[in-house]
Amino acid sequence: MQKKRLFSQIAVASVAALILAGCSSSNDAASSSGVPDVPMMESLGAGEGQVNLVAWAGYVENGSTDPNVDWVTGFEEETGCKVNVKNGATSDDMVALMKTGEYDVVSASGDASLRLIYGGDVAPVNTDLIANYADIFDNLKLQQWNSVDGVSYGVPHGRGANLLAYRTDIVNPAPTSWGTVFDANSPYKGKITAYDSPIYIADAALYLMATQPDLGIEYPYALDQKQFDAAVELLKTQKPLIGEYWGDYLKHVASIKSGGTVLGTTWQVNINLAKGEGTKVEGIKPSEGSTGWSDTWMISSKAKNPNCAYMWINHIASPEANAGVAEWFGEAPSNAKSCDLTADKNHCATFHAADDAYWEDVYYWNTPTEACLDGRTDAKCVPYAEWVKAWSSLRNS
């Protein structure tokens, strides 16, 4: 009896100690603007021998996917920094991975970048230490999603639109509108896909923006309660049409290839991968415009390999590497000099790298906040946390 009590006392004490340890590890020092004070790197030192990246699939290629697609090996040989990469499936994944502090660099989209900045997870970037920063298109620098108060938090990577993919041998006639993925009488019912992330609510809002002007949606990431409910309602009616929601791009590509998915939202890189395996598939930017991304390479505030991190960012922003990524992923490069280096000389024209008109109806992923991002002051918008709840509820109902 005595022994038993001793054991249970030890158990209780250990558990209590654990809980206390878990509780005391909070770090909430914030400056006046609400952005945590994170120091900026002053000067560059020798490489640490490795760098750990969180990136979108297709951003960091070392020749293992396709022997001709490699902008990592040269960097590793030149700097001695071994590149370890972890692909994130969604922006939420990436934010979670960066919060672990185990990664040095992230290729963050606009719906992750601000969360990372305000969460104190990324550090301001000293652009003087990045030689290739000078060649980045000016209209991508110091934007709302990669800077705060004129301080840059990263180097722009490239941009693109989320496309409507369709199997050219199955879907007839070819779609021109997002309406095809919301059509309750679609002949492709059960073979339509959608992106498995709360940010997909913006795709529904974008469609409503074009088709239901009464709702008055100006910007798909600034939805008041009524607009938000309408978008979620649209997604509920879409759910019976969906065969699978996709988050894992490899499974998504396999599904397009097998014909399990014939229509739905995708990225250019997935279309390229499926085409590479002989699938008849195309992607278009529909008439309503599209959601899209403008990504930024950011450095963790807890980076263990900051020098290699800066070297990597300088490398990936270089015209050669930037052209390589842009062409492989199927996006517009961020470096103005990249356009001369792409294998396909029309690449920048095809992806409208310098064509500002094209980007007018592309709405880059952004993080919805209570203060409406479209500038409305008479309305309260639905913050991202509510988007997450609504999405979780939709997916599980």
Binding site: V15, V95, E244, S397
Partner: protein
């Protein structure tokens, strides 16, 4: 060396401590510690913008979970799947185990046990991706094979998950039942037959009560493994989600809510074990 041995010999308490420190530490820190952290996290909340966990005690997560009908559905769905998998595994496992233990010759018995175990050596993912190819609607292996006799693949969804999980966990049901049947003396079956009972009657009145503890042991595996699974649902579940998927979906964005959801399977298992304990089956394991 001699000294240590002597001290150990004189001090039974020291001996016990040396023996038990590692397992107790493991049990308390890794096992109970993780559970306790989970439970505590469930009462925290997050900063709605940055997603950072805020250590403020509140019941909001539980309120969200209980008021949203979606989560009631997902609990019922997951329970349904876990129960179906357990029933299917039981129905498939009893004849199989009976044949192995009572009818097969001792030599082939060993081979059969080895055969039951071999699927466990292959990776979980490989097996489930194989089922993806099998069940693919339209051009999957099953439809190609059985299409001519009018079979249509159920496609990806609930039935696919039940098939996949039943396949995965079947060995965990067969082995305990096999062990239970092996312990069952053959002369009981003979005596039952001599007293005029038919096969079915013998099975129901003699075999089943005696292997009931083994059935419960097997069901604990199939039921709990199904209850916590999310990978099968991701790969062959189509758009259908199980409890594990809700946790997976939320842990990166809203860790406290994921922790709240994770308390559901823990509760269900606790209730299940309590019910099992009341039948007295645990004592017979």
């Amino acid at each position: 060396m001699q000294n240590i041995s002597n001290t150990m010999h004189k001090n039974p308490k020291l001996r016990l401590a040396a023996l038990l420190t590692a397992p107790i530490l493991w049990l308390v820190v890794a096992y109970l510690g993780a559970l306790a952290t989970l439970l505590v996290t469930a009462f925290f909340t997050i900063d709605s913008f940055t997603g950072n966990v805020l250590q403020i005690f509140n019941l909001g997560n539980f309120q969200d979970m209980l008021t949203d009908v979606a989560y009631k559905n997902v609990v019922l769905r997951t329970l349904g799947i876990a129960i179906s998998v357990t029933i299917i595994c039981t129905i498939l496992a009893i004849p199989m185990a009976f044949y192995m233990a009572k009818i097969a010759k001792p030599r082939s018995r060993k081979i059969l046990v080895a055969l039951i175990l071999t699927p466990l050596w292959a990776s979980y993912l490989v097996k489930i991706y194989a089922w993806r190819t099998m069940l693919e609607p339209g051009n999957g292996v099953l439809e190609w094979l059985l299409g001519p006799i009018g079979f249509k693949s159920p496609g990806f969804g609930g039935p696919a998950i039940v098939i996949g999980l039943s396949y995965l966990w079947l060995p965990y049901m067969i082995l305990p039942i096999y062990a239970g049947l092996e312990r069952l003396p053959n002369n009981l079956l003979d005596a039952s037959g001599d007293l005029g009972a038919h096969n079915w009657h013998t099975f129901r009145r003699v075999v089943l009560p005696l292997i009931f503890p083994s059935l419960v042991a097997g069901s604990m595996f199939t039921f709990s493994l199904s209850l916590g699974d999310y990978i099968t649902a991701t790969i062959i579940g189509g758009k259908l989600q199980m409890l594990g998927n809700v946790v997976y979906q939320n842990f990166s964005i809203n860790l406290p809510f994921a922790a709240t959801i994770a308390t559901i399977p823990v509760t269900i298992m606790a209730i299940y074990l309590w019910m099992v304990r009341r039948t007295g089956a645990l004592a017979n394991l």
